[in-house]
């Protein structure tokens, strides 16, 4: 963790994320009611409405802040669930090996090649709209990537001497996995969690943009849904979709920065400035003139 804080990219990412988190948690207490009709439709930004109003005359700033809360909340919880399911399936496959591994790997690969969005749409459309449906659908289509990455890491660690020693000394399988193997892949688990959260936020916003979310809730996805439905593009009212989009992008960017930081801390070659290879420089044959 201290190594992570020493990394410039990770620090920047954590900083942006902290600001967004504070805004999402505290912001809604200070903002207007996001669903109240406070002004004329599509008012441009002004002193009264800092980010203008929507096509329904609702305050865009309030919608952006309140939307952040639910979107990020669902995003992080889904990220955690995706990580847990991925770790369980990938870990079991990697640890047990043999037939079980073959079967699980096949399952993982099948889910990996299936395109996510259409599958999510097909399932979500049959269920009552809402955050729970959203989470379930995203976990079902999103677990395979993490399972694949974590499986191969468990597989490598499984063959290390210290794990063999633990097995021989009679430790039960769950203890070997939880105490010996998992702590040794902490950085991988952290970056898997961050990757899953980025995926969950993107997928959620996309599905809600399609109109598959609960449209009575205020989230970043429904904000964009209403922006297009209220003809934001044809009327040129950029303020109805720019703030929400920036929110999504900044969150995703901050999370990827943290992931780059983790990458560089654990894989020093990526960060190293030492000469690896590049266009050849001429070998100094003669000493330069003083």
């Amino acid at each position: 963790m201290s190594g992570l804080l020493a990394n410039r990219k990770a620090r920047l990412g954590l900083g942006i994320l902290a600001v967004i988190a504070v805004l999402a948690i505290a912001g809604p207490w200070f903002a207007h009611d996001p669903l109240a009709y406070l002004g004329d439709p599509l008012e441009a930004p002004s002193a009264r409405h800092w980010l203008g109003t929507t096509g329904q005359g609702q305050d865009v700033l309030a919608q952006t802040l309140v939307g952040a809360r639910l979107t990020l909340g669902v995003g992080f919880v889904t990220g955690l669930l995706v990580l847990i399911i991925g770790a369980l399936i990938g870990g079991t496959a990697g640890y047990l090996g043999g037939r079980v591994d073959d079967l699980f790997t096949l399952l993982i690969n099948v889910f990996l090649v299936m395109p996510g969005l259409p599958l999510m749409v097909v399932i979500a459309a049959w269920l009552p709209p809402g955050p729970l449906t959203m989470m379930g659908v995203m976990v079902l289509t999103g677990w395979s990537w993490n399972a694949r990455v974590l499986r191969s890491q468990v597989l490598t660690l499984r063959n290390r001497d210290f794990v063999a020693a633990a097995v021989v000394s009679g430790e039960p399988a769950w203890r070997v996995v939880v105490v010996e193997i998992l702590p040794n892949m902490a950085s991988l688990l952290a970056s898997a969690f961050i990757g899953a959260t980025i995926y969950a936020i993107g997928a959620q916003v996309g599905l809600e943009f399609l109109g598959l979310g609960d449209l009575s809730l205020v989230t970043w996805g429904t904000n964009l849904y209403w922006a297009t439905n209220d003809a934001a593009l044809i009327t040129g009212s950029w303020w109805t979709f720019v703030p929400t989009g920036l929110g999504v992008a900044l969150t995703g960017f901050a999370l990827s920065l943290i992931n780059f930081g983790i990458d560089e801390v654990t894989n020093p070659r990526l960060a190293a400035t030492r000469h690896v290879a590049g266009p050849p420089r001429s070998t100094p044959v003669m000493r330069e003139e003083p």
């Binding site: 297009t228 593009l233 999504v248 690896v276 590049g278 266009p279």
Partner: protein, 332 residues
């Protein structure tokens, strides 16, 4: 020569078998999803007809959509038989048009748009990544990765909205909607082709922009690893021209993981393409998808899921064929 040919054919056949299995899982899921969901699928599906149709007509519809009271395996067999004849059922929104007919042309537009965007993003991104890693800490290496990963953090469809607003609405450089001017007859005329191109610039461009960063970083990071290998040092020590070391030694080896990732990223990019199409009202699969969602046209949604999955599996297999050509290790 013969043995390598046989090995390649074996590899490609194994992959084909895998995609066949994945396709089978997809179509089984497609069958199971409506039937495992809470409530009676027929009631949900025909909710919009309730009160307009006689109960007998609803029963006839049930029959037509294969949602009978027959045992599950019998329904499954019927479903498979219908599929093997290319029958995806009837669309609810465009009733009584069959789903295959509704999807037909739309699939071509999506494959064209997403295909062009994916190939461009992959080529440009990998090329820039290879350059950035070669001139480590140079101008390109400093600017491109952070800038492009910031752009990549935006949802595809949001970039599309922003581009439509700036270049379509404010500047008026490119058309805002559809795939070609309504007044033109589709055909191989210059007027039609140029209209298609100018309509594709914004949707394809935003998709390339959104996906570029991912390819660039993946390529750059693999390249950095490859450049640390001994064979690169050896090639340089032998005095090979710098360009040759870069292209034939470093890039060629670093390409492989990226190419494998290409297949898996296809599904993701295609999902982004579907949402981008919605912003531009581009007459592809995405446009049909949102109509299906709005009209609660379940058979159409499921037909779209199946056709998109099959397209992705097919593209993955083509990528496998390319790896066989490029990577000698798959031939042994």
């Amino acid at each position: 020569m013969i043995s390598t040919l046989r090995a390649s054919a074996g590899f490609l056949l194994r992959r084909l078998g895998f995609y066949g299995l994945a396709g089978f899982v997809a179509l089984t899921l497609n069958f199971l999803i409506p039937r495992l969901m809470p409530g009676d699928p027929a009631t949900v599906m025909f909710a919009r007809f309730q009160g307009e149709l006689e109960p007998e007509a609803i029963d006839a519809l049930r029959e037509a959509f294969g949602l009978t009271d027959a045992p599950m395996w019998e329904q499954y067999l019927q479903y498979l038989t219908a599929l093997s004849q290319g029958d995806l059922g009837l669309s609810v929104a465009y009733f009584p048009a069959p789903v295959t007919e509704v999807i037909g042309v739309a699939l071509l537009w999506t494959v064209l748009l997403a295909g062009v965007a994916v190939v461009l993003a992959f080529g440009l991104g990998s090329g820039l990544g290879a350059l950035a890693a070669w001139r480590r800490n140079g101008l390109l290496d400093q600017i491109a990765p952070p800038l492009l990963s910031f752009l990549g953090a935006f949802p595809y469809f949001w970039l599309a909205m922003a581009a439509a607003w700036i270049f379509g609405f404010q500047l008026g450089w490119f058309p805002l909607r559809h795939a070609y001017d309504a007044g033109l007859d589709p055909g191989l005329t210059w007027a039609f082709v140029s209209s298609v191109i100018s309509h594709a610039v914004l949707p394809a461009g935003t998709m390339v922009l959104a996906a570029l960063g991912g390819w660039l970083l993946a390529m750059r990071n693999t390249m950095v690893g490859v450049l640390g290998e001994d064979f690169i040092t050896y090639a340089q020590a032998r005095g090979l021209p710098s360009r040759r070391v870069w292209l034939h030694y470093a890039v060629r080896n670093a390409m492989m993981p990226n190419l494998t990732g290409f297949g898996m990223a296809l599904g993701f990019v295609l999902s982004g393409a579907l949402l981008t199409e919605i912003v531009f009202a581009y007459p592809g699969q995405g446009y049909l998808l949102i109509n299906a969602v709005l009209a609660q046209d379940y058979p159409l949604m499921q037909g779209l899921f199946l056709t998109i999955t099959i397209a992705v599996l097919g593209a993955n297999w083509l990528v496998d064929c390319m790896t066989v050509v490029l990577d000698p290790r798959t031939r042994t």
